[in-house]
Amino acid sequence: MELIHHLMLGFSVATHPVNIAYCLLGVTLGTFIGVLPGIGPLSGVAMLLPVTYVLPPTAAIIMLAGIFYGAQYGGSITSILVNIPGDASAAVTCIDGHAMAVRGRAGAALSMSKIASFAGGCFATLMIMLLGPVLTDVALQFGPAEYFSLMVVGLVTAVTLAHGSQLRGLAMVILGLMLGFVGTDVQTGTLRFTFGFEKLSDGVNLVALAIGLFGFSHIILNMEALVSRKIEMPKIIGILPTLADLKACVKPILRGMGVGSLLGVLPGGGAVLSSFTAYTVEKRLAADPSRFGHGAIEGVAAPEAANNAASQTSFIPLLTLGIPPNPVIALIGGALTIQGVIPGPEIISEQPHLFWGIVASMWIGNLMLLVLNLPLVGLWIRLLRVPRGILFPAIILFSCIGVYSVDNSAFDVGVAVFFGILGYAFLKFDCEPGPLLLGFVLGPMMEQNLRRAMLLSHGDPTVFLTQPISLALLLVAGGLVAVMVSSVLRNGHQQKLESEMSN
């Protein structure tokens, strides 16, 4: 009963014309911020933060939240169409989304990504309403030891991201981990691999790295094709997903929602980690994993459901504990603070209209996004017909603006160019950047939590085995390694047999 009462309060706030207007503004801006490569939710929210100072608190947060989850809808569009992620969390959608587009199924991929995002968003909203406090407790259960073990699972699955050689995938993960070393050692303050660049003392900028590896590198590759006139316009077969597509995606979407909702609540989790995790889960569970990387629609649906769910559940720790789990939420928390509302456990009891208004607006916002985005699919597809000579310079321009605006730093634009050239070399050697990005995201968290766990246990390494959650995660990781090794051995054995037979 109480819930219905709260919901009615929430919807009465969220359906107020002013709040509807700001919700629409937020999700529309979010979609465009998502579409523009390089300009992700972080820079989008940062740029628009000062605008919210003059708004009432509820409208301000509704708009900023709309930008955040709206960007998850928009981010996949360029991933699918031109293989360049609109923001880092859509990088994994490039793998199968673009493969689908190459086969003329861009429309189906785009529509499915919107449907999956919508499902993920609705589910996450439901989770916030019903399980907010429970999920808060889950976040509290995760200490350094549990994080470390979670990261171990993440790293083991990272290898499966590669759809070619697993050895190359492993090499890319390790390279990503090594790039994660760059910056200041949190424990001792020692600078590592900064080569005298002050700007590197906070590590390599994630947005610059992602744009360079996934964006600039593909533009260089495409220009090569342009010069040799090898580029072909993919034919477009149908805009809507088929019934078989929808059927194939039900379970992946459900799993993606679950993964995303859970990872969104954890500090450092967020949209990037959840979309990659959802993808690897699907690839692991698939009857025929070899389809992944060649246009498997599950590889689009699951991560899109996950990143949108994660972006919304990451509001839970902010609204129930005042603790932002990722930088975008930290900015939104800052916006609340500026409004004189200190995020924390008192919000639900003292400002119920604010809390329930935001939650209800998420539902409305997701609906708006679906209605806004599905008809636009046909329009986005026309992006493919824009001459490359116009499209690519425009993408490069927006990417540079996006990378610059994260920290107002020109150095980061240089970093993106560096990784663009490096990424081009990787593509030439058939090395996929996905595992590298995941290694780069996981590495620093893993290292910090390992050292923190050891500090807290006073140097006792058994802490990873005596904590139940940590132990369970390590067992999962061990099981995954065993499966991988046995399949590699079996394949090797088989090949040997075959070669002996042919002799």
């Binding site: 002050e198 928390g333 107002n408």
Partner: protein
Amino acid sequence: MIRLSAILLALFALLPVGVHAADYPTKPVTIIVPYPPGGTADIFARYIAEGMNKAWKQDVIVQDHPGAGGNIASGQVAHAKADGYTLLLGTSGSNAVNPNLYKNMPYDAAKQMTVVATVASTANVLVVGPNSKAKSVKDLLAMARANPGKVTYASSGNGSVLHLSGVMLANKANVKMIHVPYKGTPPALLDVMAGRVDMMIANGPSVVGNVKAGKLKALAVTTAKRADALPNVPTMIQAGVPGYDLSSWFAIMGPSAIPKAVKEKINKTVNAILALDKTKKRFAAIGAAPLSMGVDQSGAFFQSELKKWGKLVQISGAKVD
């Protein structure tokens, strides 16, 4: 000859600054913030910028240039033209701690930078988890004495103001505790709430809500006076740590060479903003109090803060190279 005329030209270029100081500002002023938008420093910068804009009828632009613990922004301002058009919203952490912490600073803090006008100070709060056995600072220190090197304290980073606040506690009470650095306050507070870390000295605004909701216990505030937001929480001195008085501060800073008349004008404007009734209310909402000083007093305050935090950095042994 060319060189001589160049010198003369340079001298002439310098002269008008002093002459026209009364007209300051004749063009937009930029305040650079050393941290990301939405943080406390950004909030103060935008509030002061709004007031300056009204007083001067001139645009005052706020730019956030985070990075290297604030050294990127500070270095940028230290090397900017000393005409009062490029200012910094400096903090105790980025401008008093860093010069003592970093081996390679991009500028000479004591000589090149100064505080033009102080803006606000915030109290930090010693918190423990809701299930902690410690009911007071005395309990906590007794635990630390009984188990030397076992009691842990979290901070937002190695060499941060919060880390040094812990160092000061251990030093004044003569106990040994283990420092557990995090990347920022949020993940650190989670581990304190869950009881995995024994205590943390955290920024007031980040814990007040959780203290009221019973998710954290506040044992003391770090300032010599009690905090308005937590009137029932004793000060460190009252809780039995004599001589403990530390607060984080925020100030409008700039190159030392800004002409005196320009400094005076900025200082007067800031102090007029601080004197407004709504300022006190706005600041109190985020756990801060206005901190008002004249130009000379502000400059002396900065020099003494540099020394004070320098001593703590030395005791802590923290360094960043």
